[in-house]
């Protein structure tokens, strides 16, 4: 094997390897759609975040507009604080409301943004004031049973 041919093959090998990594990053992974730089941060506080996890989708009208960056517990208000990275090209009015929804009956939980009518737009670091917590199934069943009992009580 001559030296130059050998170098050529090794060069091709390294290029192919790096090319495969790029394919994995851009075509298979989500590097292409969400580069770190062109997003801005919004936060929202919920009384109950349910089963929301970091990296969960943030959707508005069903379209993915961002991802949940981190979830922390606010020890002053005793609420869950959800920080989201929203793509820069999507702007939302100041009175946008955020709610935690579930895709399908048993699907993943995501944050749904419902745009308001305010003229001013949310900026980087702003927080969404209007929030609706996740629906907790146990609470819902408890409430249902309680209501049933209340209905049945007087008629007896």
């Amino acid at each position: 094997m001559e030296r130059s041919t050998l170098d050529l093959w090794v060069g091709l090998f390294v290029i192919a390897g790096i090319g495969a990594l790029t394919i994995l990053a851009l075509k298979v992974g989500n590097m292409g759609s969400f580069a770190g730089s062109d997003t801005y941060r919004l936060s929202a506080q919920f009384t109950n975040i349910g089963g929301l996890k970091p990296r969960a989708a943030v959707k508005s009208a069903g379209v993915v507009v961002g991802r949940v960056a981190e979830i922390t517990f606010d020890n002053d208000k005793f609420m869950g604080k959800v920080v989201m990275n929203i793509e820069k090209r999507y702007k939302f009015p100041k009175d946008t409301s955020a709610s935690i929804l579930t895709s399908g009956l048993l699907g993943e939980q995501y944050v749904g943004l419902e745009a308001g009518a305010d003229d001013a737009m949310l900026k980087d670091g702003d927080s969404i004031k209007l929030t609706q917590s996740a629906v907790v199934l146990e609470k819902l069943i408890g409430q249902f049973l309680y209501n049933k009992a209340a209905e049945g009580g007087p008629s007896k």
């Binding site: 050998l6 495969a20 990594l21 994995l24 298979v28």
Partner: protein, 265 residues
Amino acid sequence: MFERGSSIDVRGIGRHTIESVLRLGYAARFFAMTVMHSGTSFRRPRLIIRELYYSGVLSLIIILVSGLFVGMVLGFQGYQTLKTYGSESALGVLVALSLVRELGPVVSALLFASRAGSAMTAEIGLMKTTEQLSAMEMMAVDPIARVVAPRFWAGVISMPLLAALFSAMGVYGGYLIGVVLIGVDEGSFWSQMQSAVDFREDVVNGVIKSFVFGIAVTWIALFEGYDAPPTAEGVSGATTRTVVTSSLAILGLDFILTAFMFRGV
């Protein structure tokens, strides 16, 4: 087995234990020596390029072909299973996640161990048997710096590249079966894959895995060759041990790394 009447061979057990601990210590010293003496091979990159050709380029065919076939099998099996739940569109997610997280790094490392690792052991073992290593020492050339270190770095560099090629090939194999042959919707195949596979969590962790496997496999292969008894039998035994030990090391390390990485956020 049973020397001296009926008593168990306690001395034998002790000897084996001490021998294996000694060998482990020697292997650790060998690893440290390799890393410390790698300066020469970085000053003369041609040595590494030569070894990259032998361990990386020559393993390319087997890696690409097996990646394609593993991806195609995943496409078939995944489709069969997902069809029962009516979620064929998640086929892309299944293929990509299982390849990028597990199969890519692990299977390519196993193939690398048997294709390139065994060749390294046999080559160095034979160099030792034919006293080429001693001859180098006589000429004041450090065999670790001249022979071992370039092979080590070539293995460490080529392993992540091979694993990435394996995964990429496998994803296209799954695409070939899922979309082209069976007819899963192409849009949902790619878009669900992209929304489920995270670059940092999945792709980078897979690369870290293959990097660790590269270090483990090359280290084991080189040490077995360097430590092989200088006989024909010794070299053949060392080659076998390379494949067995590095396969076990890959699977064990894979478990540990997976436990650390994907603990479910």
